[in-house]
C-alpha cells in the first residue's frame, strides 16, 4: 500500500491507476507528512488525558477557591483562600490527616511484610504449574466486589463473629470496629496489588545470581539481604505506591468497619454529600494529592517508577 502511495502515478499496462477519491488523497497526504500523521494519531489520547481527565480534575479543584452559602447551599464564585487556610490551620484536619497517613503507612508495611514471603515462594520455589495456580489464588479476591469484602470483614470482626469465636477460647476478645479494624480490612483489600509487583520483580532476579551468591559462601539470609533485596527494592516501592495511595483516599472501609473514626476521604464525602460544601471538600482533597506528590517525588529517586 505505502509503496503504491508514495510512487509517482505511472500508467502501467493492465493495471489501471487507482481512482482519485478523497480518501485516497488523504492517505497520500498522511503518508507524505509524518508529523501530521503523528499529530492526528495523538489527538485522541491527548484529548482524553488533557481535557477529559486533567481538566475535569482541575475544574473540581478550582472550586477550592470558591465559597458556598452554608444555609442555602449555593456555590458562589468569589475567589479567596479561606478554605485552604481552614484546612491548613484547623485542628480537625491536621488530626485526621495524621491519622490517615498513619493508617496508610501501617497498611503498607503490613502488606509488604505479608507479600514478601508469598511472592518469594511464588517466584522462586513453586513449580511452574503451582505458580499459575498461586497467581490465580492471589488475584481471586479481586473478582469479588469491594463492598462485599468490606461488609464481610464487618461481620467477621463483629461481636459473636468469626474472630470472636476463634479467640474467645483463649480468653481473647474481638477488636471490634475502629482504626485497627480499618487497618486489617484495608490490608486485606490491597494485598494483591502489593504481591503482584513484588512477584514480577522477583521473577526478574536471575536464579544464577542466587547460585553465585551461594557458591561464594553466602548463607540464605546473607543472599536475601545483599542480593535479592537491593534488586527487589524498586518493586517493593512500586507495590507500596498502590497500597499507600489507595488507603489514603479510602472512605468506604472506614465507614463500614471504622466505628466512630474518620479519615480524609470521609471528610471529603461528608462535605460533598452531607454538608453540601463542595469548595471545602475540594480543599480537603488537595491534602492527599499533595502527600502523593511528595511521596512520588521521593520514590522517583529510587528508580522505582521505571518498574511500574
Amino acid at each position: 500500500m505505502s509503496s503504491d502511495a508514495s510512487a509517482p502515478p505511472l500508467k502501467r499496462a493492465g493495471v489501471p491507476a487507482p481512482a482519485e477519491t478523497p480518501a485516497r488523497r488523504l492517505s497520500v497526504l498522511l503518508s507524505r507528512a509524518p508529523r501530521l500523521r503523528l499529530g492526528l494519531l495523538l489527538t485522541a489520547p491527548l484529548f482524553w488525558l488533557g481535557l477529559v481527565y486533567i481538566a475535569a480534575l482541575a475544574a473540581l479543584l478550582v472550586t477550592a477557591f470558591w465559597t458556598v452559602d452554608s444555609f442555602t447551599g449555593t456555590v458562589s464564585i468569589e475567589w479567596n483562600l479561606d478554605n485552604i487556610v481552614t484546612v491548613l490551620t484547623g485542628a480537625v484536619y491536621q488530626a485526621v490527616t495524621l491519622r490517615t497517613v498513619g493508617v496508610a503507612l501501617l497498611v503498607t508495611v503490613i502488606d509488604i511484610l505479608i507479600a514478601l514471603p508469598i511472592a518469594f515462594y511464588m517466584a522462586k520455589v513453586a513449580t511452574p504449574r503451582m505458580q499459575r495456580v498461586l497467581v490465580i489464588l492471589v488475584l481471586m479476591p479481586l473478582w469479588a466486589s469491594y463492598l462485599v469484602k468490606a461488609y464481610a470483614w464487618r461481620s467477621v470482626l463483629s461481636e459473636g463473629g468469626l474472630v470472636d469465636w476463634l479467640v474467645t477460647p483463649f480468653g481473647g476478645n474481638t477488636p471490634g470496629y475502629g482504626l485497627h479494624a480499618t487497618v486489617i480490612t484495608l490490608a486485606y483489600l490491597w494485598l494483591p496489588y502489593v504481591i503482584m509487583p513484588i512477584y514480577a520483580g522477583l521473577e526478574r532476579v536471575p536464579d544464577s545470581l542466587l547460585e553465585a551468591s551461594g557458591d561464594l559462601g553466602a548463607k540464605t539470609w546473607r543472599t536475601l539481604r545483599s542480593v535479592v533485596l537491593p534488586l527487589l527494592w524498586p518493586a517493593i516501592i512500586a507495590g507500596s505506591i498502590f497500597s499507600f495511595s489507595l488507603s489514603l483516599g479510602d472512605y468506604i472501609t472506614v465507614n463500614i468497619v471504622g466505628g466512630a473514626s474518620q479519615m480524609l476521604g470521609n471528610l471529603v464525602y461528608t462535605n460533598v454529600g452531607a454538608a453540601n460544601n463542595l469548595p471545602l471538600a475540594a480543599a480537603i482533597a488537595l491534602i492527599p494529592i499533595a502527600i502523593m506528590i511528595v511521596y512520588l517525588g521521593l520514590v522517583r529517586r529510587t528508580g522505582a517508577l521505571e518498574n511500574l
Binding site: F71, G73, A260, G273
Partner: protein, 392 residues
C-alpha cells in the same frame, strides 16, 4: 413509530420553552426566600413525575411485590413515577439543587434550607383536597411554612427514640443519661445519629439537666449554648462505638450486641430480628423527632402531576400504607382506619400529648427560633463545623 416521530418535535419545543422559562426565572428570582408564586389552577397531567424521597416513601413493588402504592397512582392519573431515594437530609438538599425533581419529601432540618435556596415553590393548598384531612398540629409549622405561605404537605412524623439492650438494662432507662453522663458504663457500645442535627439531642438533654444555660429550644442555640452541647458530645465521643446514618448498619450493631444503647427510629426496632434483646423507650427529657413534608420543586417540569401526587399521598389510604410501611405516625386523621390493627397506637398517631414531647427537627438559623432577639443564634453551618470537630 409514528407517534414518536410526531411527539419528538413537541418534546423539543417543550424543552426549549422550559429552558427559556428556566433561564428567565434564574434572571429574575433574587428574593432570598421562596421559589416564586404558587400556581392558581391546574392543567393537564404531563405523563410523568420525578420524586426525591426517603427510602420507603415511594414504593412501586420493585423492592417487595407486596408493597406498592405507586401503581395505583400511575393507573389513576397516567403520571409515570420515577423516584430517587436519599440517605440524609443534607444529601437531599444537594440532590434538590440539580432541579431535576418535581416533588421532594423532606424532613424539618432540610425544609427551611430548601425554601431559602429557592428550590421549592409555595403551595396552593386549595388544589390539594386531601390537605383538609391533615392533623392541624402538623400544619403551618415553622418548618413547612414561611411568612404565612405553605410550602409542605405533612406526610408522617416520628420520634428519635432511645433503643437499649434488655440484657444490659434490666429496666427501661428513664433518662438519656445512659448515652451522655453515664455512657462510660458501656464505653464503646453507645451509638448516636451521624448528623449535625444530633447536636439538638445534646441540647435537649442540657435543657433538662443544666437549666442555667437557658436553652429554650434545642434548635436555637447561641454560641455559649452550642459550646456546652459540643462539650457534652465530645465527652460522649469517647464512649461511642459507632455513629449511624445507615439504618441497616444500626440494625446489625444492635443485633450482634456491638451497640447496647443509643438513638433509633421505631422502624429500626421493627426491623430487628425477632428474639433480639432490644426495646425502645421515650425518656423523660423528651425526644427529638421529625415531621416530613411533601414539597414541589420550583423548577418542576410536571407541576400538575406533582400536585396530583401530593393530593394522592395525603389521602387516607395512601398515607396509611406509606407511613405504616416506613414505621411512623400518619399525618391524615382518617388514615388510621386503613392501617393494620394496633399500628396507629404503636406510633401514637394523632396523640397531641405524645407529639408535644417531640422537638421536631428544624434548621438552626441565625435568627433564633425561640424568639430571642438579644443574641444571634448559631446556624446550620456552625453546627456542621462543630459536628466535624466532635467526630475528630
Amino acid at each position: 413509530m409514528k407517534s414518536t416521530t410526531i411527539r419528538r418535535p413537541a418534546a423539543v419545543t417543550g424543552i426549549a420553552i422550559a429552558s427559556v422559562a428556566l433561564l428567565a426565572g434564574c434572571g429574575t428570582t433574587s428574593a432570598p426566600s421562596g421559589g416564586g408564586e404558587s400556581v392558581e389552577e391546574l392543567g393537564d397531567y404531563e405523563g410523568s413525575v420525578s420524586i426525591l424521597a426517603w427510602p420507603g416513601y415511594v414504593e412501586d413493588g420493585s423492592n417487595d411485590p407486596e408493597v406498592d402504592w405507586v401503581s395505583d397512582f400511575e393507573d389513576d392519573t397516567g403520571c409515570q413515577v420515577t423516584s430517587q431515594t436519599y440517605g440524609t437530609s443534607d444529601e437531599a438538599l444537594s440532590l434538590m439543587k440539580s432541579g431535576e425533581y418535581d416533588v421532594v419529601a423532606a424532613s424539618g432540618d432540610a425544609t427551611l434550607r430548601m425554601i431559602a435556596g429557592g428550590d421549592v415553590a409555595p403551595l396552593n393548598t386549595d388544589l390539594i383536597p386531601n390537605y383538609d384531612g391533615i392533623y392541624d398540629f402538623l400544619k403551618e409549622q415553622s418548618w413547612n411554612s414561611v411568612d404565612g405561605e405553605v410550602y409542605g404537605v405533612p406526610h408522617g412524623y416520628g420520634a428519635n427514640l432511645l433503643m437499649y439492650n434488655t440484657d444490659v438494662f434490666s429496666e427501661a432507662p428513664t433518662s438519656w443519661d445512659v448515652v451522655f453522663d453515664d455512657a462510660s458504663a458501656n464505653a464503646g457500645k453507645i451509638t448516636a445519629y451521624d448528623s449535625p442535627i444530633y447536636i439538638a439531642d445534646a441540647a435537649m438533654y442540657l435543657m433538662a439537666h443544666e437549666p442555667d444555660l437557658g436553652i429554650e429550644n434545642p434548635y436555637a442555640l447561641d454560641e455559649d449554648q452550642l459550646a456546652a452541647a459540643v462539650e457534652l458530645l465530645k465527652e460522649q465521643r469517647a464512649n461511642i462505638g459507632e455513629y449511624w446514618s445507615d439504618y441497616l448498619k444500626s440494625i446489625q450493631s444492635f443485633e450482634t450486641g456491638s451497640i447496647v444503647a443509643g438513638t433509633t427510629w421505631q422502624v429500626i426496632k421493627n426491623s430487628v430480628p425477632e428474639g433480639t434483646p432490644v426495646d425502645v423507650t421515650l425518656p423523660e427529657e423528651g425526644v427529638t423527632g421529625w415531621s416530613d413534608n411533601w414539597m414541589v420543586g420550583s423548577d418542576a417540569a410536571s407541576p400538575n402531576c406533582a400536585y396530583a401526587w401530593l393530593d394522592y399521598i395525603a389521602s387516607p389510604e395512601a398515607n396509611a400504607e406509606a407511613t405504616e410501611y416506613f414505621g411512623e405516625a400518619p399525618s391524615n386523621d382518617a388514615a388510621c382506619e386503613f392501617r393494620s390493627e394496633g399500628q396507629c397506637e404503636l406510633y401514637h398517631a394523632g396523640d397531641e400529648d405524645y407529639a408535644s414531647q417531640i422537638w421536631y427537627w428544624s434548621t438552626p438559623i441565625a435568627e433564633c427560633l425561640d424568639g430571642r432577639t438579644d443574641v444571634e443564634c448559631t446556624d446550620y453551618a456552625a453546627w456542621t463545623t462543630a459536628w466535624q470537630e466532635i467526630k475528630g
